[in-house]
């Protein structure tokens, strides 16, 4: 194994251990699971003799009206066609994802500023192995949370006679790759900026931009947004995890497995590109605080 990978794994192990000692990761998980719980129990109480009727539950009425108003009734029907788990998954992944990615952005910049990375680079470590450690940490903790979430959702499905379904697992894989891409973007931003506050602000702005472009191409009010931002959205979609995620989901819906796998490959390649760019930037900028 190369020195760089060895160092990355050693530091990643400590970072994972650090996450296990701090309350943030657990709180994020608990919030995610609680959101799942409320959404599942709300779904169950929205079932009548003909099927899912979102008007029967106040929470789902709010969700249903908002989603159908923004994305159309077709979107709402498709989202809940096989049950609640696709929607539940999208919502419950958010707390952990935000916690992990924002803490990466914050800690990387802080540790760069106070000279922690520099200290390590006196040894067989470089800036690249340091940010790789963050990436490994984020991926491992994400996988652990996903396993916990699957366990929880399976228990909920069993108790309520619901079914996760094959589509759920396809979506889970897509979202995992999307998160991987977003983590590499967070690392890229951390490497580019010098202060934690600017890095966090920039990262949130980038996610927001991706979301706006997604909504602009996806909502039923899209005419207004896309006419304003058609060129910008075309450019941004090339690197937007949400764009690729939506594309992958539409491919799997149509049964195009090869295209689906290709999209996953594209996201992997993009992630590697961002890591490579980060490596080049940190090589030029250095780690001296």
């Amino acid at each position: 194994m190369s020195f760089r990978m060895h160092a990355a794994l050693v530091i990643a192990k400590r970072r994972i251990f650090e996450s296990y000692l701090s309350p943030g990761y657990y709180i994020a998980q608990a919030v995610g699971l609680l959101l799942s719980y409320f959404l599942i129990s709300g779904f169950v109480s929205s079932i009548d003799s003909s099927g899912f009727n979102y008007m029967l539950n106040p929470l789902y009425e709010l969700i249903g009206r908002s989603l159908s108003g923004t994305f159309g009734l077709t979107f709402l029907k498709k989202l809940f066609a096989s049950g609640p788990f696709q929607f539940v998954f999208y919502v419950s992944i958010i707390p952990v994802f935000l916690y992990l990615s924002l803490s990466t952005v914050f800690h990387f910049c802080l540790e760069k500023k106070v000279g922690a990375i520099e200290l390590l680079t006196y040894g067989p470590v470089d800036g690249t192995s340091y940010f790789l450690a963050f990436f490994i940490k984020d991926m491992v903790l994400t996988i652990l949370y996903l396993l916990l979430l699957i366990l929880f959702l399976s228990a909920a499905a069993l108790l309520n006679n619901l079914v996760l379904g094959l589509a759920f697992f396809y979506v889970l894989v897509v979202v995992f790759f999307m998160m991987m891409l977003l983590y590499t973007i967070s690392i890229m931003i951390s490497v580019l900026t010098d202060s934690s506050a600017s890095a966090i602000a920039l990262y949130i702005a980038v996610i927001f931009l991706f979301l706006i472009v997604l909504m602009g191409s996806f909502t039923i009010i899209s005419t207004y947004i896309t006419s304003f931002s058609s060129v910008l959205s075309w450019v941004i979609n090339w690197v937007s995890p949400f764009f690729y995620g939506g594309l992958a989901i539409s491919f799997i819906e149509a049964g195009y497995i090869v295209n689906y796998l290709l999209i996953l490959l594209v996201m992997t390649v993009l992630s590697c590109l961002f890591l490579l760019l980060s490596h080049l930037v940190i090589k030029v900028k250095g780690v001296h605080s």
Binding site: I11, K13, V114, Y122, D126, H288
Partner: protein, 321 residues
Amino acid sequence: MIRTRGLVKKYGSFTAVDNLDLNISAGEIYGFLGPNGAGKTSTMLMLLGIVKPTAGEIFLFNEKYTPDKLDMRNKIGVVPEKHPYGVWTWMTAFEYMQLFADLFDLKRIHGNCNDRIEYLLLQVDLYGVRNKRIAEFSRGMLQKLSIIRALLHDPDILFLDEPISGLDPIGIKQIRNLILAENREGRTIFISSHLLSEMEKLCHRIAIIYKGKLLAEDSMNSLLAKLVKDREILIDLETLPHNIGNTIKELPFILDTTTNGNTLAIKVSKERDFRKDISGYLINKGLIPLRIEETALSLEEAFVTITNENIDLFTEIGGRE
């Protein structure tokens, strides 16, 4: 062991290090001195591969050194001026050492490295707090921890940046003894410090850098000898006869005399040690010297001299420009 050739570092139009040639032999304690902004930190960062030189070459272990040579860093230990604040606060001292042991893969090389960690902790009186979080450590404790961290992987070269700042006298003594002990093991030690009194006690050779340029690089004694123009001898007498100061001037090597109580201060030229001649003269005069002492130029005085005032004087005596 460490060699630089024509080392230059520029930050825009500002030249921090200007054509630096250093030569540090294996097994010596090398002191690197200079006032603030002289270029010490930039030099150290280049030697450590943290910062890329604008020009010049660096050789470590007779091999050209570049920052991507991560394997060379196994042979280097570094103690920075300050421990990074607010990082790894959850770690105990023992875990902190284990992190670096893992980074250097000591387990694979040496087997169980816990013994070495415990040994080093004992050396600096930190064994009793090995399970205490480093967030609760004082500055001095952190500094000691930093030093033993740098020694953990048994490096051939040790770079120390202000190693004893923030330490109490006992701590200073501990670190001094540790440095000397490590040097006796054959380790080359590069120290950058402002505590000149300690540098005098520790270093075999000194380099003085000023405005990016190397002003002096020599052994301690040679450097001081070059800078000293004359010697001063202090003599304590039981009673000081009147006019003894003028009388003694008949000796040809006496340059000047002053008296202070029962102490006679005599300035002589620096050619040789004249204490025997002087004591012989005084005994002939029936005066018994209670104490004869030669005062030497201190490193502090030499440092101030070189860097603040007598640049010309220095170049006269053969210093580099």
